[in-house]
Amino acid sequence: MKNNIHKSMKNLATLTLDSLFLILVFSCSRTASVQVAGSTTVLPVVSKAAEQFRVKHADVNIIVNAGGSGVGINQLAERKIDLGMASRDITQIELTNYPEVDFVTHTIGRDAVVPVVSSEVFDSGVQALTLAQIGKIYLGEIRNWQEAGGPEREILVVDKEQSRGTRHVFMQVVLGDKVAAAPGADLVLGSNNEEQTAIAQSDAAIGMLSNAWINKDVRGLSIIMPDGSLVQPELANIANGSFPITRALLLISNGPPRGDVRTFIDFVLSEEGQTIVEEAGYVRLK
C-alpha cells in the first residue's frame, strides 16, 4: 500500500518534471505570435485568413479572440493585443481615454448593417421600412407590427450590447447617436450569431445584423429612402454606397504596423485575403 503510494508519488514527480521540460522545449522553439481580438463581425474573416496565413508562414501564430469592437479597441490601447478588430470607428471617448496610443486603422472590407426581421413578419408583408419607422420601433413608440403595415403582433425588439460595432453604426444612422438608448428594446444580445438565433426562433422580432448573417429565417428589410425609393440590402448596393447603413471593417494597430503584423495585414488586403472577405458575405475592396 505504502509502496504503491510512494511509486505513484514518484510517477507524479516524474510527470511534473517531464511536462516542465516539455514546456521549456516549446519555449525555446517559440514561434512568433500576433494577437488579434475584437469585433465578432470581423472575426470570421480574420479567423479564416489566419488559418490560410499559417499555411504560408508556419512560424507565425495568429491568435484570434472575439469580444466585440469595444474589446478590440480597449485591449489594443492597453497593449494586451497587437491588432484590434472593429466594425465601427473609434469614438471620441476612446481617443481621449488613451491619448498616448496612436490608433492606425486599416480598412479590409465593407459591410452593411441591415435591419432584419423574423421570416414570418417578412412573409406577411413587412419587407421595407423607413429609417424613421425603425427609429420609432427602437424608441418604443411603435410597439405592434400593425402600425408598420404588418400583422397584429407585438414587436420583439432585439438590441445589442452597447459596445458592439454593429450597434454603433446602426444607431448612428437610425437615431443619430452611436450610443443612443433604446427604451423599446426587449432583448439585449451580443454576437451576431446569438441575435440571429433569437430572431429565427421568434416570429415577431426585429434586429440589426451584419449583411453576412441574413438567411431564410432572418430576412433583411429594404430601406425606404426619404425620396420614396427602395434600397435593397444587396452586395451591389453596399458596394456603390447607396445602402444607407454601411460601415468599414477595420483592423487597428498601435502605430504603423511592423513585422508580422504588417505581413498579416498585407495578406488580408491581398487577392487571397479579399476572397475570404467576399466568401464571408462582405464587400471586398476594389
Partner: protein, 282 residues
C-alpha cells in the same frame, strides 16, 4: 382512511418527483449524446479546428483543457496538502480552526465568474501577464483548493492516533512522523479529492474566458504567457459566433467530449473516495 389516502398520495408524489427528476436528467444526457455523437469521429478528435470551427476537430481544445487542469493540479496539490497537514497536526485552537475552515470553505462558494474577474484584475491588469494559460491554471487551482484540502484533511484524520504515537515512540520527530506516516495517507486522499476538483475545473468557462483562452490560432502554447484554446470556451464561441450550422453541430460534439472527460475525472474521484472510506473502516 384519510390517513391511508394521504399516505398513498404522498407516496405517489415522491414517485412522481423522482420520475420527473430522472426524466429531466435522462433527457439532458440524451440530448447531449444524441447531438454530440453525430459530430464525433476520428478526425474530430485528432484534428485542429478549421474554417471557424465548422470543419476539422477539437484536438488542440482537448490538449488545452488538459494542460490547464494539469498545471492547476500541480499548483493545487502541494498547497492543499500543506494546508490539510497544518489544519490537522498543528492547529489546535478551536476558534482559529473554525475561522480557517470558514475562510477556506468560503472559497468553495465563490462564484466562478468572480474568480475570472479577480484573475482579470490581479494577473492581467496589475501584473500585466496578458492573457495566459498559466494564469488560468492558477485561478483554477485556487478554485478547487477547498475540495482538495477537505479530502486530504479527511484522509489524515482517518489515520488512527496509535500510528502517530507509535511513530513518535520510535523516536521520530514531528515532521518525520508527518512525512512517513501521514503524508502517504493524505496524498491518496488528496488525489481522490483532486480528481473531483478537476472534474469541476475542466468544465468551467467563466473563470478562464477573460484571462486564459483564445478562440483560434494557437495549438500548443509556446510559453507560460500564451493563451490556449479550451473545450468550454470553444463551445461558447461556436454557440455565439459561428455562422455555419456545422459549427453548432461541432459545439455539441465538443460538449459530449467535455462531459466524457468530466465523467472520467469524477468517476476516478468517487472511486478513490469510496476506496478510502472502506480502507479506513477496516
Amino acid at each position: 382512511m384519510s390517513r391511508e389516502l394521504t399516505n398513498r398520495v404522498f407516496s405517489t408524489a415522491t414517485w412522481f418527483a423522482a420520475g420527473l427528476c430522472g426524466l429531466v436528467l435522462f433527457f439532458m444526457f440524451a440530448i447531449i449524446t444524441w447531438n454530440g455523437i453525430r459530430a464525433i469521429n476520428f478526425e474530430f478528435l485528432f484534428a485542429a479546428s478549421r474554417n471557424f470551427g465548422a470543419a476539422g476537430g477539437i484536438f488542440y481544445q482537448i490538449i488545452g483543457s488538459l494542460l490547464l487542469i494539469l498545471f492547476a493540479a500541480l499548483i493545487c496539490l502541494p498547497l492543499a496538502l500543506g494546508t490539510a497537514i497544518f489544519k490537522s497536526e498543528y492547529l489546535h485552537n478551536a476558534r482559529v480552526q473554525k475561522l480557517c475552515a470558514i475562510l477556506v470553505y468560503g472559497l468553495n462558494g465563490v462564484p466562478s465568474v468572480i474568480f475570472g474577474i479577480f484573475g482579470l484584475i490581479f494577473f492581467v491588469n496589475v501584473l500585466q501577464t496578458g492573457v495566459s494559460w498559466f494564469v488560468g491554471s492558477i485561478i483554477l487551482a485556487i478554485m478547487m483548493l477547498p475540495t482538495v484540502v477537505l479530502a486530504a484533511y479527511h484522509a489524515i484524520n482517518s489515520v488512527p492516533e496509535i500510528y502517530r504515537e507509535s511513530a513518535s515512540a520510535l523516536g521520530l520527530n514531528r515532521w518525520q512522523v508527518i512525512v512517513k506516516v501521514l503524508l502517504p495517507q493524505a496524498t491518496s486522499g488528496a488525489i481522490s479529492g483532486l480528481f473531483l476538483g478537476l472534474a469541476r475545473a475542466i468544465g468551467e468557462t467563466a473563470p478562464i474566458m477573460f484571462i486564459a483562452t483564445a478562440f483560434s490560432g494557437i495549438d500548443i502554447p509556446g510559453s507560460f504567457l500564451d493563451p490556449v484554446t479550451s473545450l468550454p470556451t470553444h463551445i461558447l464561441a461556436l454557440a455565439q459566433q459561428a455562422v455555419d450550422a456545422r459549427a453548432l453541430e461541432n459545439a455539441w460534439g465538443a460538449s459530449l467530449v467535455l462531459i466524457s472527460l468530466v465523467t472520467v475525472f469524477s468517476t476516478l474521484g468517487l472511486w478513490g473516495r469510496m476506496k478510502l472510506k472502506t480502507s479506513s473502516l477496516r
